[in-house]
């Protein structure tokens, strides 16, 4: 059976485009056809400017014809999470608050993608302002897991993960503050990388929690992930937290025998689903069989990660989201007599319940009389978690855990229990708190639902993580798997 265009990996597309077997126009036409057939069902995209996409594809084909192609990404569509600014396109963060906003500027990563010739392909649904683990907090629409449309795709980059696994787009950008790339990647059976904090400029990424946020690539194969990562990671003077050196990845051939993989003590115990535990154990056994050294590591402060995260992230969010007041842009209340009333009402009307909950929590933990007990202590706990991880990563090359304790749950199942939902991120949060690179790789199924394992490395060890993941990918059939829709 001839492979459909939507099934191709970005790497395969790149090769076909290079050989002249495929045009970018033919590709995007096929993808838009699929978009019309499936997007209502999956709910991944919130916006797609088809005329603009066709114009970009034609421009790419023209470049290729003239022998002026811009590189391996030229002509390949990349879906963009709706919290990354693209000039002339909506920038809503799936919030009513920003529903009227069209960005007047490009994010650094968007400039980079344009320079690489990639096609900026639509806006992807997300939890409002990236706050959530199921994309159910979107004020725009619901997104469903292509593997089971009754279930959530994960979040907050749920639109990105669902679009990839539904074959709506070959590559996508997500953002990750506590697991927002990796958790939906795991739930949708794709690859998701949260890079080292500072590897990719945050200029143009709408801030949720500035010290934790990173943009990252989402893809269906490791090679695709590397392809996209290399287009994103470049120095940017507009983000003072971005490294000012180039850190493009060249995947080394990893000698499995030299790899030391750390498995945190008791990680497959309490709270982890049996099939998730089994799939993760199978991944550990695979590496062992390849000659890797498996070492049990102790990370005693891991229990502090979730509470620490919800103090630090909400504190920063309460301040980052203060700018949405209806004065300069975004939703403005029609029911106000004074400027202050206008600001108050605009915020009350514009934000959804989870965003309000986090703003309130963040405001509380920073307020006089409470900051020392919450915010300052959380910063101390964060330092401790970071120090423990860095110490562990001196003894091992990477840590391996499940990405999420349990597979994708049913839509609506946990919406009224935020605390239960917060535990979705128990394995992913420490990498954000410590600023470390982390990757989710598909490793099996729990019933019919995908399960991923999670690798965390020392700062700037993306290449090592990706190489180890490729070792696994090459020996298994999980890469570029699409469910039947």
């Amino acid at each position: 059976m001839a492979q459909e265009l939507y099934q191709l990996s970005a790497t395969e597309i790149s090769q076909r485009l290079a050989k002249g077997e495929l045009t970018s126009r033919a590709l995007v036409e096929a993808l838009m056809k699929r978009y019309h057939a499936l997007n209502k069902k999956v709910g991944a995209f919130t916006h797609l400017d088809e005329a603009d996409v066709l114009a970009q594809a034609d421009a790419s084909d023209a470049r290729r014809k003239a022998g002026k192609t811009l590189g391996p990404l030229d002509g390949i569509p990349v879906g963009i999470k709706d919290n990354i600014a693209v000039k002339g396109q909506p920038l809503t963060c799936s919030s009513k608050m920003l529903a009227p906003l069209v960005s007047p500027y490009d994010a650094h990563v968007i400039e980079s993608l344009r320079a690489a010739g990639a096609i900026l392909y639509g806006r992807l649904n997300m939890d409002e302002f990236a706050m959530g683990s199921s994309t159910e907090n979107s004020a725009v629409q619901k997104t469903f897991n292509p593997w089971d449309l009754a279930r959530i795709p994960g979040g907050s980059s749920g639109g990105s993960a669902a679009a990839l696994s539904a074959g709506l787009v070959p590559l996508a950008l997500g953002s990750d503050t506590g697991g927002s790339i990796r958790q939906p990647a795991s739930h949708c059976g794709i690859i998701g990388l949260k890079p080292t904090y500072g590897l990719i400029s945050r200029y143009g990424l709408v801030a949720f929690a500035s010290s934790l946020d990173q943009i990252g690539p989402m893809a269906r194969t490791i090679d695709d992930c590397v392809l996209l990562l290399n287009a994103l990671a470049s120095p940017d003077a507009r983000d003072m937290t971005c490294f000012n050196k180039n850190h493009r990845q060249q995947l080394p051939e990893v000698a499995a025998k030299s790899l030391r993989i750390g498995v945190p003590k008791g990680v497959l115990g309490k709270g982890v689903g049996a099939e998730v535990a089994a799939a993760t154990q199978a991944a550990i056994d695979f590496y062992k069989s390849q000659g890797c050294t498996i070492i049990e590591v102790d990370l005693p402060s891991s229990d502090l990660a979730v509470p620490t995260y919800y103090v630090v992230a909400t504190a920063e969010a309460s301040s980052n989201l203060a700018r949405y007041d209806g004065v300069r842009y975004g939703h403005r209340s029609a029911n106000a007599k004074t400027p202050i009333e206008m600001m108050t009402n605009s915020r009350s009307e514009g934000f959804g319940p989870e965003v309000k909950r986090r703003i309130l929590l963040g405001t509380f933990v920073l307020s006089a009389g409470y900051a020392d007990a919450y915010y300052v202590r959380a910063l101390r706990a964060r330092s401790k978690i970071r120090a423990e991880h860095l110490a562990a990563l001196e003894k091992v090359d990477m840590l391996l855990t499940p990405t999420v304790p349990t597979p994708a749950f049913k839509a609506g199942e946990k919406i009224s229990d935020p605390l239960q939902l917060y535990l979705e991120d128990i394995f992913t949060i420490p990498a954000n708190l410590a600023g470390l690179p982390a990757l989710s790789v598909p490793c099996g199924k729990s019933g019919h639902l995908p399960v991923g394992f999670h690798l965390v490395g020392a700062p700037l060890s993306e290449n090592k993580l990706l190489a180890a993941a490729r070792l696994f990918e090459a020996a298994h059939g999980f890469a570029n798997q699409l469910p039947t829709l």
């Binding site: 919290n83 906003l101 007047p104 003072m240 300069r328």
Partner: protein
């Protein structure tokens, strides 16, 4: 109220817009007089996804200020977010430096008013607590139909200079601000144009009984935008607090505003309504390291302090106190003066008087400045006189080549044409007549005139002043060109 009984204690927080090309965290430029919202960009407007980038120029100006006042420059500084909601605040938080400011300590030398205008007052040092960088906010205005916001000012770099509570009177506070303005402008740190809102001040005022060491409860009056406003507000606030305490009421810790039009303060908010700013370290700006190389490089840009210069002029150059005080207020004026002095070092006082009295008056008049405008603020840019020429003019007078009267005429011509005094003297034939033979002849003619016989008699009878009556006719006959010193000598000789 009895001043003898009460002591006022004042600390000032001075907000100064730094002289930089770009805003403090964005590349947008800033300046005065632009159309509303012309000096903005996505960062200034706080658009979603934008990030601040620290302007090194602003940090260096702040360090330079620190070096000017002898402050400690810590090895690193950091930014915090001060959270509060207001429509003129684009992010609804202000970036400021709470725990790790750019400079620590330092002191400012001030001069108190003397017994009279010509008498130098006491000098005193006022300690600074620290100075920190922050961003200015926009401006909100209300009209009948609604409210308007202009973000041109948002993101303009501000240096907040915080003094210790070392000031003891309104006059000391004014002197402190005067000294600060001189130091800031002369180092090129800030322009301090108060009419453009480039220097604003918050005054913390408390009173206590003399001899008491504990500080009283203070009030803070916000946003004073002139030195006279600061002085008036402190006088008002001191009187108010004395009245309260003498009436047996307690001073309430509160934030106050000042109405410059009616000269009265008013309550903005009391302690219960005080904002909780929820400060926390800004996660977008990493801690900034300040290298010792940078500090050493900036140290070379520190100019001589105004009062050190004043002392040097008075003591080493014998310049009168009032002239020295005018000269030090403006560094380009002082430099101009020093270039002139270098060309004629023997009479710096003469040069100073000419600069302060004649040159500034003419510059002020020709610039169309209003009468009574601060003469020390006149720009030298339009001045056609070169310092060396002014020195030459003083030299010509000192050597007796021209009279003081002639010097005035030459100066006017120099101011208009920019020509050298030597040229003017020659072309106008103004040289003093010092030809002894010719003068002796004229003197003989004059004293032979019977109309002066009475004066001659009086002089000979011992009335020294009577000789002056003879000088007028002699001067007249020489068309004013006679060297008055020579006339005096020759006349006395002729009269025996």
């Amino acid at each position: 109220m009895s001043n003898a009984e009460w002591e006022v204690v004042i600390g000032l927080e001075v907000h100064v817009q730094l002289h930089t090309r770009a805003k403090v965290f964005a590349s947008a430029p800033w300046g005065f007089g632009q159309e509303p919202n012309e000096q903005v960009d996505p960062v200034v407007l706080g658009l979603p996804g934008t990030l601040p980038v620290v302007n090194r120029e602003a940090v260096e100006k702040a360090i330079l200020f620190g070096l000017v006042v002898g402050a400690e420059i810590p090895a690193q500084c950091a930014w915090d977010r001060k959270n509060y909601f207001y429509p003129d605040n684009p992010k609804n938080y202000q970036l400021t430096q709470k725990d790790f400011p750019v400079t620590m300590g330092g002191k400012v030398e001030i001069e108190l008013p003397g017994a009279s205008r010509n008498v130098q007052g006491e000098h005193k040092f006022i300690r600074l607590h620290h100075a920190h960088l922050e961003e200015d906010v926009g401006k909100l205005s209300h009209s009948g139909s609604g409210s308007l916001v202009d973000y041109n000012r948002a993101g303009v770099p501000l240096l907040e200079i915080v003094s210790e509570p070392d000031l003891r009177s309104a006059a000391e506070a004014a002197a402190f601000l005067n000294a600060l303005v001189m130091m800031l402008t002369q180092a090129g740190v800030a322009d301090c144009d108060m009419e453009k809102g480039q220097l604003r001040c918050d005054a913390n005022v408390s009173i206590r009984r003399r001899g008491e060491t504990k500080l009283g409860t203070r009030s803070e009056t916000k946003n004073l935008n002139s030195i006279s406003g600061v002085r008036d507000c402190i006088i008002y606030e001191t009187a108010r607090q004395v009245r309260e305490l003498e009436a047996g009421r307690a001073i309430v810790q509160e934030t106050r505003g000042w109405n410059a039009e009616n000269g009265r303060g008013y309550v903005l908010r009391d302690k219960e309504d005080a904002h909780d700013y929820r400060y926390f370290p800004d996660p977008d700006i990493p801690t900034l390291k300040i290298s010792r190389e940078t500090v050493q490089r900036l140290q070379k840009q520190v100019p001589e302090s105004p009062y050190a210069r004043q002392q040097r002029y008075i003591e080493k150059l014998n310049v009168p106190y009032t002239a020295a005080s005018v000269l030090i207020a403006q560094s380009d004026l002082a430099q101009w003066f020093e270039v002139a002095v270098a060309a004629h070092p023997s009479n710096a006082a003469g040069i100073a008087n000419l600069v302060v009295n004649d040159l500034l008056r003419e510059l002020s008049a020709s610039s169309g400045a209003a009468e009574g405008a601060d003469i020390a603020k006149v720009s030298l840019a339009s001045c056609r006189i070169q310092p060396a020429h002014l020195a030459a003019l003083v030299k010509l007078t000192d050597e007796g080549t021209i009279s003081k009267q002639q010097a005035k005429e030459v100066f006017t011509e120099m101011f208009q044409s920019g020509q050298s005094p030597v040229q003017i003297v020659e072309s106008k034939g103004l040289k003093q007549n010092s030809d002894t033979g010719e003068l002796e002849k004229i003197i003989q003619e004059v004293i032979a005139d019977p109309s002066v016989a009475k004066s001659i008699a009086e002089y000979r009878a011992g009335n020294e002043k009577a000789i002056n009556a003879l000088k007028g006719p002699i001067m007249k006959r020489t068309q004013g060109k006679a060297n008055p010193v020579l006339i005096d000598q020759l006349l006395r000789k002729a009269l025996g």
